[in-house]
Amino acid sequence: MAKSHSVWTSIRFWRQSAAWVTGFAVVLLILLTFDTMRQIKMGGKRVPSPSVINNHIDYKYSKKRGHEVPVIGDKEPFFGKQWSDEEAAALLHKGKLTSQAKNCMNCHTLLGNGAYYAPDLTKAWLDPKWKQMMPMVGAKTKEEAIAKFLQHPEMYPTHERRMPNLKITPDEAKALVAFLKHMSAIDTNGFPRGFSKGVKEFEAGGTYAH
């Protein structure tokens, strides 16, 4: 075969190229991972420290970034008090553990990853619907409303598809709310885009014609 002298059919060439490309991609991934670890460690600008639960959180369009970013505002009480750094960290720890123990991710998405049976929880803390829910569950604050809902979701159905009772204790519910609030303060590069911009439409009964 005349062709056997072509580099394109040389196994050795392809083997060496495969080794080079794979090795280089791995090294790059490791370098990028180091840089990303630095940027997403807790307490930084992308993933805030647990004590962010003591602050008001908003999600606003940033001209500079070209998408919405979390805005961490003034102090506000969380379950009626300010939480010390240690208390907040312990609460978040429990919340994250509970989210795994109850398997939230196999119904909901968190940061967009998970299951598609129930709403994305990335910005659930900021959902305007909680204003409506507060009188329904008999709570004075948003955090209380969420905590009550999580303990007895079967009692407050708002849609045909209900969340089941996952035997969440009051303490676990509190911790989960902290987890949700913390997650809503993570800088997700603008996901979800235009969060809940359809709310005005709902309030007008699903139409702009009024």
């Binding site: 196994i11 392809w14 190229s17 495969a18 490309v21 794979t22 991609a25 991934l29 991972t33 990303t36 940027q39 997403i40 992308r46 993933v47 647990p50 960290a89 720890h93 919340g95 994250k96 553990l97 509970t98 989210s99 795994q100 123990a101 109850k102 398997n103 939230c104 196999n106 119904c107 998405t109 968190l110 940061l111 967009g112 990853n113 998970g114 598609y116 049976y117 129930a118 994305d120 659930a124 959902d127 849609h159 045909e160 089941p164 035997k167 676990e172 997650m183 993570i186 800088d187 997700t188 590069n189 996901f191 979800p192 885009r193 809940s196 911009k197 359809g198 709310v199 709902f202 699903g206």
Partner: protein, 474 residues
């Protein structure tokens, strides 16, 4: 397959062990489909098993059974090809068999706990003993450690058999790739309070499995199978294999970035994820061309004698070439650019891609390997497809394609209405879920799921009987 447990024609214990893995894989595949059907029905009738066997439980078992049956079939395939490629028996076959039973016992316990205990209190003990609550790798920590031990035994067997026997290019790739595949599991074994960090490493396992190491695994299996089924020339097959490794790892490793667009990670991942993963379909096209090319060439090369030694296995491998390209390549590319992904992220569109890709890229070729195993166990020279083989491949493929179409339509609707029009959120989600188009899609998904399941029944019947039938006919 079952009738051949005791006396079969296989020369090597390693191949017999491979068949044991195939059997468990098939059972778990059936369990996977049943759980999928439960979850699909819950989308239509949310009160179905509500509070008893909730969607989260059905889904967890659905996707865990999926991952585990595929790993079983992969281990089975390796034990099966090992003596063929190296020319010798696996070095530690007794240990290998022990590991099989330990793993199977552990899997049984894990599944029973998933089904009957389901969830636990928000404490470390739940993560150690009930479930870890992280999609695909929910297995509790004790099982993780058990899996690591079993995989070490498996790897010991593969590595030292390779070192002792003949060293083919196919096995060289296999041994190196398996090390990476097994090592990656470790990235998913720790707990952190930081959800961004959590998902960063979670994707190392999920993505670097399905879009790098598993793909290379499939390329290796296809190389072995083509040599075995149609006498493809080894030098050509091995050359293609290296090209595939080059392209798969070259695009797939940094393609990981397409999962780092929105989880708190820096913006530079937009560009890295987009452009490397956009190249991921290229090797899939190459693999497709390669399989079809070899198939066409070998067809004419043997005069009147049919070139294909195992009809159903070859049919599944051709389906693999096509399904991999379609499910992973095309459906993956659809949503891999951040400009699109910001809307499609976490919608039914992802589920459409997930189904077609896992089926097309992995289920197909692993089923093909099971047919190869049956052929070996019955010592049949040429195994032709039966009516049941044809029904199985047609119904399963048609069913999964149908589910994918339904989910794609559901995904479009969700993307446009929930995300683009209403901006996401609680009410936006349910507005989209309540639209007739979504409901129709969910109904069609269930119907097509039933079609898939009927195809699966044919598959099981065929695997159980085809060996004997071919023996009689030859």
């Amino acid at each position: 397959m079952l009738t051949s447990i005791k006396n079969n024609n296989l020369q090597f214990e390693s191949q017999k062990l491979g068949l044991m893995y195939f059997r468990v894989a098939l059972i778990l595949f059936g369990a996977q489909l049943l759980m999928g059907l439960i979850a699909a029905i819950q989308f239509m009738y949310p009160e179905f098993l509500y509070g008893l066997f909730d969607f989260s439980v059905a889904r967890m078992v659905h996707i865990n059974a999926l991952v585990v049956w595929m790993l079983y079939a992969m281990i089975g395939a390796v034990y099966y090809m090992l003596p063929d490629e190296t020319g010798i028996e696996a070095v530690g076959i007794g240990l290998g068999k022990l590991a099989f039973w330990v793993l199977t016992a552990a899997v049984t316990v894990v599944v029973l706990v998933y089904i009957f205990i389901q969830i636990g209190p928000g404490k470390e003990s739940t993560i150690w003993f009930i479930n870890e609550g992280r999609e695909y790798i929910e297995a509790p920590r004790w099982a993780d450690i058990g899996i690591v031990v079993v995989v070490l035994i498996f790897y010991y067997n593969v590595f030292f058999t390779f070192m002792k026997g003949k060293k083919t290019g196919v096995m060289t790739v296999m041994v190196a790739n398996l090390l990476a595949l097994a090592g990656l599991y470790l990235a998913g074994m720790f707990f952190t309070d930081n959800i961004s960090m959590d998902q960063y490493w979670w994707w190392w396992v999920i993505h670097l499995w399905v879009e790098a190491t598993w793909e290379v695994f499939v390329g290796t299996l296809a190389a072995y199978a083509l040599i075995k089924i149609i006498d493809a020339k080894r030098e050509i097959v091995e050359m293609w294999l290296w090209i595939e490794v080059l392209m798969l790892f070259g695009s797939g490793i940094l393609g990981l970035g397409h999962h780092y667009f929105w989880i708190g990670t820096p913006e530079y991942w937009w560009e890295i994820g987009a452009l490397f993963s956009a190249l991921e379909p290229v090797p899939l096209v190459a693999m497709f061309v390669h399989v079809l090319y070899d198939w066409g060439k070998e067809q004419g090369a043997h005069g009147d004698r049919p070139a294909i030694k195992n009809g159903p296995a070859m049919a599944w491998i051709v389906t693999n070439a096509f399904g991999n390209f379609l499910g992973a390549g095309i459906w993956g590319f659809f949503h891999t650019l951040p400009q699109v992904n910001i809307y499609t992220h976490g919608t039914q569109f992802t589920a459409a891609h997930g189904h077609l890709a896992f089926f097309g890229a992995y289920a197909t070729i692993l089923i093909g390997m099971m047919y190869l195993g049956v052929q070996g166990a019955y010592g049949v020279e040429r195994m032709k497809a039966t009516f049941k083989s044809k029904m199985a491949i047609f119904l399963i493929t048609f069913g999964v394609l149908g589910m994918t179409v339904a989910l794609t339509i559901a995904g479009y609707e969700q993307v446009l209405v929930e995300r683009a029009e209403l901006g996401g959120g609680w009410d936006a989600f349910f507005t989209a879920q309540a639209l007739p188009w979504m409901k129709q899609a969910m109904t069609w998904r269930t119907i097509m799921g039933v079609v898939t399941f009927i195809g699966f029944v044919y598959l099981v019947l065929d695997l159980l009987t085809i060996g004997k039938e071919s023996q009689k006919n030859s």
